[in-house]
């Protein structure tokens, strides 16, 4: 964390206090997300959780990651989630059947995963401090250089993986369409499975 070599653990700086408080809010929002009985509320608490994470990234000088987090997760993933909920079932009020019988198994897995992650991060970065002289470590320029100089191969591998997923989605949606009645509606077979499915739904209405 910032300026950690001059400040001990027991005399935190303002940034550290802010980091802790935002962390608390994020953690609380995450808990509410998985425990609330109201489906849409869960999705909206997820927005608070993801936003809180973005603020934590900001406090750790990772500005680029923070905005990308907001753009992808809050702006797209949650919107997609809400879209799906509204299309299928989004009652106002409690849904008693929204709970799963696996909550203890889920809790166990979550605790183990959290413990493993914390252990790995603490063990790997225990003695690493962010160098605040020069360009901030998380700025767009530094991130871009690191990504395209040191990490090009994983980056390209990821792109191929995403492309494969995209092609797979198109194949699946086209197959589903061929199986259904060959009624010719105005729906566009867009380059994205979701787009075609959406157009179909709108046409059916």
């Amino acid at each position: 964390m910032l300026a950690a070599d001059t400040h001990g653990f027991l005399s935190p700086t303002g940034v550290e206090i802010a980091f802790f408080l935002v962390g608390l809010v994020t953690f609380g929002a995450a808990l509410v997300t998985v425990t609330t009985r109201q489906l849409v509320h869960a999705a909206l608490w997820l927005v608070v959780t993801l936003g809180g994470l973005a603020v934590e990234y900001l406090l750790l000088t990772a500005e680029f990651i923070a905005w990308v987090q907001v753009l992808i997760y809050v702006g797209s993933v949650v919107v997609l989630l809400l879209f799906g909920l509204m299309l299928t079932r989004a009652p106002i009020g409690r849904s008693p059947d929204a709970d799963s019988g696996n909550r203890w198994a889920a809790l166990t897995v979550a605790v183990i995963a959290a413990a493993a992650l914390i252990w790995v991060v603490v063990d790997a970065f225990r003695t690493t401090w962010i160098d605040l002289d020069g360009a901030p470590a998380g700025s767009t320029e530094v991130t871009g250089k690191a990504l395209f100089q040191n990490w090009v191969l994983p980056f390209e591998a990821l792109s191929v993986l995403l492309l494969a997923a995209l092609v797979g989605a198109i194949v699946l949606s086209r197959k589903a369409k061929a199986d259904a009645t060959p009624a010719a509606d105005g729906g566009a077979a867009g380059p994205d499975g979701g787009g075609a499915a959406k157009a179909d739904k709108e046409g059916a209405r």
């Binding site: 849409v40 997609l80 767009t140 729906g187 959406k198």
Partner: protein
């Protein structure tokens, strides 16, 4: 200047712009639409050509009863207008209107990402409103809003990425510093894609399917009354200011102009923004509403390929000139 005072002043200026510019555009819309349709528009409020019409509208909205439907999810219903409106205020902070660090609310390193990310959050407000109203028309409006956002976010991002590639930076003042006049023809396709996708994200006609009044009353905002309804309207017009300002900064060179770029840069920014706002109004009067499947088709089969082609062109030119 004192730091705290400096920050306060900047925030104050941005806030005043946020409160006045949407009203200016709204009033212009009243008058321009009226004259394009052979009417006079508002003529009485305030005396001179009805200049105070929107002030009167605001007073009217403030007096109305604030109704929350019985079946609605109260808290989310009441929170939704704020979620729809506040992102545009934040975006205004990052738009530079003149050269140098003095003419922008706050210099943000990853400015392009910031503005697009925060603008996307605003749509959550419409989704929340649509769901929490406990009204089928509202829910349909919310659904259409989500579908529209998902379709048009991608071409908008790609078009903005093209400019960022050309400038070699994602900071908005940095993009303006790198701007040359010949970027205008070079990036023109990207500019049109960005502007059209932005219009769709704001749900302005001809992309106003989510609020299509002849089908679903007023979409997600059907159940709203009084000030909360006014806040949604304000969000729409603030969105126009933000979209026109962003298009100006990213594609039209912002404060660059044929002359007077040193002292009068902000005049150029405002002029270009106003011109674009006029185009937004013009489009509303000119084109009929697109059907939902036409909306999706336009985005996926036309705007996305065009944006990708623009990125390819940007890359090729960039490599050639280096």
């Amino acid at each position: 200047m004192n730091d705290a005072l400096d920050v306060t002043l900047r925030l104050l200026v941005v806030f005043v712009v946020f409160l006045t510019f949407p009203l200016l555009i709204g009033q212009t819309e009243h008058k321009v639409m009226a004259h394009m349709q052979g009417r006079l528009g508002p003529m009485y409020a305030g005396g001179f050509h009805g200049w105070a019409q929107l002030v009167a509208d605001g007073v009217k909205f403030a007096q109305k009863e604030d109704v929350v439907p019985t079946g609605a999810d109260r808290r989310i219903f009441q929170l939704a207008p704020a979620v729809a409106l506040l992102p545009y205020l934040l975006v205004l902070l990052a738009i530079p209107i003149g050269p140098g660090e003095g003419a922008v609310g706050e210099v943000i390193d990853a400015g392009v990402f910031f503005v697009l990310a925060v603008m996307g959050v605003g749509v959550l407000g419409a989704l929340m409103a649509g769901w929490a109203s406990a009204n089928k028309f509202s829910l349909l409006g919310g659904l259409r809003t989500a579908a529209q956002l998902l379709a048009y976010e991608l071409p908008m991002l790609l078009a903005a990425a093209s400019v960022a590639m050309a400038a070699g930076t994602v900071s908005l003042p940095g993009i303006l510093d790198a701007f040359e006049w010949w970027w205008l023809p070079w990036q023109i396709v990207g500019a049109i894609v960005f502007f059209v996708a932005g219009l769709a994200e704001l749900q302005r006609p001809p992309f106003d399917m989510p609020v299509a009044d002849s089908e679903i009353i007023f979409g997600a905002y059907t159940e709203y009354t009084g000030l909360r309804f006014a806040l949604f309207l304000l969000a729409e017009y603030a969105g126009i200011v933000v979209l026109c300002g962003l298009t100006t900064v990213l594609f039209l060179g912002g404060w660059h102009g044929p002359w007077g770029a040193d002292g009068l840069g902000w005049v150029w920014t405002l002029l270009k923004t106003a011109l674009l706002a006029f185009v937004v109004i013009w489009l509303r009067v000119t084109y009929p509403r697109l059907r939902e499947d036409q909306l999706q088709k336009l985005s996926w089969t036309l705007l996305v390929p065009l944006a990708l082609a623009q990125i390819a062109l940007t890359g090729i030119v960039k490599v050639v000139i280096e």
